[in-house]
């Protein structure tokens, strides 16, 4: 790649500088748009539960807000059906309800209309930087939590026990990632380096199945699993993900294994090694980059999968994986943003970590497997 010249804009001197500013400016703007949703979620997940629902997450940054600086006490029982004289201004009751701006920028607003007290508010710099980790405790753990409500009373709530879902997701994901790799590697080796009847037809089947939507297989599979009494178990999900991931795995590994240098394999054959030994000792170690690419791809796919988990595991909270748990939180606690934001971030944690640590492999797998639907 490095030998290819970068496409550089034409022009010299000042034109180039202006170009660079325009390009970087546009790019920065798009990147900002792209990252704001995730930042908002992350920031909110650390805010106090009542703060989240009463002010935007962006108020953690310094901003100007009207704050009460002093109070004015009017004569008790003063009639409100005619304009009042306050601070040398003539204001009506309605204006005091909505807030009346004074020439100096401060604002008059009823503090307690019945007691005839008025707040004088001025714009002040402020930031709602009041962070907590209790949202994470509430959503991760299963025990009871007591918190103080806005009116001062306390309330006890059951935690959401998302740790459990996290373990469930691992239980589903690890076998569903490793099993298809092994089976696919054998098949890819056969397609790449062996001759057998029906090879062309069978490989065409592998390629054809790459884009088949899983929906066409769901109904018969669910019925078959119910017959075998394994629907609702992890086993069902492992089998489904193995079946659905296998065509991509075989295709991806075939592309890689068929490109390995022939000389190495020839030398091994001449030394009298059997194909099985060659596969174990040569092919597998040489294919590690391709195996890793697919492993990451399949890991993300299975971890983030919702439809298959919904159909084959069902809504049972004991077996729910993180996507199911999060979706059910949206359904049952749709306005409890302190739980939703923390829960969503927990569900994203592992894929994001894998993504940033192994981005190179992920991109490579994506390019090799971009035929999958």
């Amino acid at each position: 790649m490095s030998s290819m010249a970068k496409i550089r804009p034409a022009g010299a001197g000042r034109g180039r500088v202006i170009n660079a500013i325009l390009i970087n400016g546009a790019l920065a703007f798009i990147c900002l748009l792209w990252i704001i949703p995730t930042v908002g979620l992350l920031v909110s997940s650390f805010r106090d539960r009542s703060d989240i629902t009463t002010s935007g997450w962006w108020t953690i940054f310094p901003h100007q807000e009207y704050k009460t600086s002093r109070q004015i006490q009017l004569t008790a029982g003063l009639p409100l059906d005619q304009p009042l004289q306050v601070e040398g201004q003539t204001v009506t009751d309605d204006q005091l309800r909505a807030g009346f701006k004074l020439p100096d920028g401060s604002k008059l607003i009823w503090s307690n209309r019945r007691a005839r007290t008025i707040d004088v508010q001025t714009q002040q710099w402020t930031a709602n930087a009041n962070f907590t980790t209790s949202n994470y405790q509430n959503v991760l753990l299963g025990q009871q939590f007591t918190f103080t409500q806005e009116d001062g009373s306390t309330k006890t709530e059951q935690g959401e026990n998302m740790v459990n879902s996290f373990i469930n997701s691992l239980t589903v994901t690890i076998p569903a990632t490793v099993i298809p790799i092994l089976i696919a590697a054998f098949a890819a080796y056969a397609f790449a380096w062996m001759r057998f009847p029906g090879r062309k037809f069978l490989f065409a089947m592998v390629v054809g199945l790459l884009v088949v939507p899983s929906q066409v297989a769901l109904i018969p599979l669910l019925r078959a699993f119910s017959g075998l009494e394994i629907s609702g178990t992890y086993l069902a999900l492992w089998l489904v993900h193995t079946g659905f991931g296998l065509s991509l795995a075989t295709y991806l590994l075939y592309n890689y294994i068929s490109g390995l240098p022939r000389e190495i394999l020839e030398a091994a054959f001449i030394d009298g090694a059997s194909p099985f030994t060659i596969f174990l000792v040569l092919i597998l170690p040489l294919s590690v980059p391709a195996l890793a690419s697919f492993a990451i791809f399949q890991f993300m796919w299975v971890w983030n999968d919702y439809l298959n988990a919904l159909i084959f595991l069902g809504p049972n909270p004991d077996t729910a994986v993180v996507t199911i748990k999060l979706a059910s939180l949206v359904g049952s606690r749709g306005q409890d943003w302190h739980l939703l934001t923390a829960g969503a971030f927990i569900s994203m944690l592992l894929p994001l970590a894998v993504f940033f640590a192994l981005q190179r492999y992920f991109v490579r797998g994506l390019m090799a497997g971009s035929v999958k639907g």
Binding site: P213, Y306, V371
Partner: protein, 372 residues
């Protein structure tokens, strides 16, 4: 040519005992294979019964699945190696490809055919109804709405992803901050559609006008003096807001692939165009775009298939209500909520038919490939 040499290699390999088979080895291998199979069945029965959440079961599953598959391969190979040369060479490929092919056949090919068969039957598959389910698929009001929405998804979603992805790829290619920018745009790919749904539900969140807005979109609206809106029930625009989530998620995919393709465009080509007096834009549209059209096609079809199959985020964000249903959510509703297997099957087959041109194209490309 290549194929012939490969075959010759296998046959000329000088292996010990090549002519005759050894009955003793054969029996040992057979016994080992039987033991492995028996253990796999025991493991299956154990896993079938395990429903609770535990890392122990995950470990058992890995040993059962990975170890079992490896042991099956190993013992089956022992069995084959104990045979004489002729049988050995004839059977060996099957050991390697048969497990994978058999699983694909059982989990995708056969179920697809069964779904096709069921689509001609009534809801519990007891009575043949001919094409009734397909007629219903194209005449039901709710299905028509889904088709209309899916067309929005197909054209708006795919179009924006590809155009934006290309734009960002071009910008990033000329910037010093390429790596960081690409990581930021690409990052949503790692986030599940359910997670993305929560992120965007928060952006679209609505509070009544007399309260402070906590959703970014409504806060901006209020700041410029407009009324806050309940975006996700605002027909028909709510479809647009759902599609926006998908654009946010999938543009990174388009960008990464297109960016790699852009770097493959030879610099001399662009230089030559420039010497001939072409402007920057002319060079881009007449040289760069045709050069990377293969990648553009791949990216477009991949994202288009994704939009046709879309389910997760619609189901999580609106449940397919308020005029946002798509084929994926209708399939789920017929299949799960209404338990109408025939109708659900017909919808799945229609989805399959919509995607099948890509399948045909892929097979044609394969046919052109060397060695096949």
């Amino acid at each position: 040519m290549i194929q012939q040499t490969r075959e010759a290699e296998v046959k000329s390999a000088p292996l010990p005992n090549d002519q005759n088979w050894s009955p003793r080895q054969f029996l040992i291998a057979l016994a080992a294979l039987a033991v492995v199979l028996a253990l796999m069945v025991v493991g299956f029965l154990y896993l079938k019964g395990s429903r609770g959440a535990s890392m122990f079961n995950a470990v058992v599953a890995i040993i059962w699945g990975v170890g079992g598959v490896a042991a099956l391969f190993y013992t089956a190979n022992m069995l084959i190696e104990s045979l004489n040369l002729k049988w050995r060479n004839a059977l060996r490929p099957f050991l390697f490809f048969l497990p994978g092919v058999a699983i694909l056949f059982l989990f995708l090919t056969v179920p697809t055919l069964l779904t096709l068969y069921q689509s001609f039957f009534n809801q519990d598959s007891t009575r043949f109804v001919g094409l009734d389910n397909y007629i219903a698929t194209f005449t039901d009001r709710s299905m028509q709405e889904s088709f209309r929405n899916n067309l929005f998804w197909l054209f708006l979603g795919t179009g924006f992803c590809v155009v934006l992805g290309l734009l960002i790829a071009v910008l990033a290619d000329r910037s010093k901050f390429e790596t960081v920018a690409k990581a930021i745009i690409f990052m949503p790919m790692a986030i599940s559609l359910v997670g993305a749904s929560v992120i965007w539900r928060f952006i679209y969140a609505y509070n009544p006008a007399d309260q402070e807005q906590i959703g970014l979109q409504n806060a901006i609206l209020v700041a410029v003096g407009l009324e806050p809106q309940t975006w996700l029930t605002l027909q028909p625009w709510n479809n647009l807001f759902l599609i926006l989530v998908m654009i946010w998620g999938s543009t990174g995919f388009a960008m990464v692939l297109l960016s790699a393709a852009l770097k493959g465009v030879p610099g001399e080509l662009i230089e030559a165009a420039r010497v001939d007096g072409a402007t920057e834009l002319q060079g881009f549209f007449n040289i760069v775009i045709p050069y990377i059209q293969g990648t553009i096609l791949t990216v477009t079809t991949t994202i288009a298939i994704g939009t046709l199959k879309i389910f997760d985020q619609v189901y999580v964000m609106t449940g397919g209500q308020f005029g946002t249903s798509v084929v994926g959510t209708e399939f789920y509703r017929q299949f799960f909520t209404n338990r109408n297997f025939g109708y659900g099957a017909a919808i799945a087959i229609v989805l399959f038919i919509a995607i099948s041109p890509v399948l045909v194209y892929n097979l044609r490309q394969l046919n052109k490939q060397e060695g096949f």
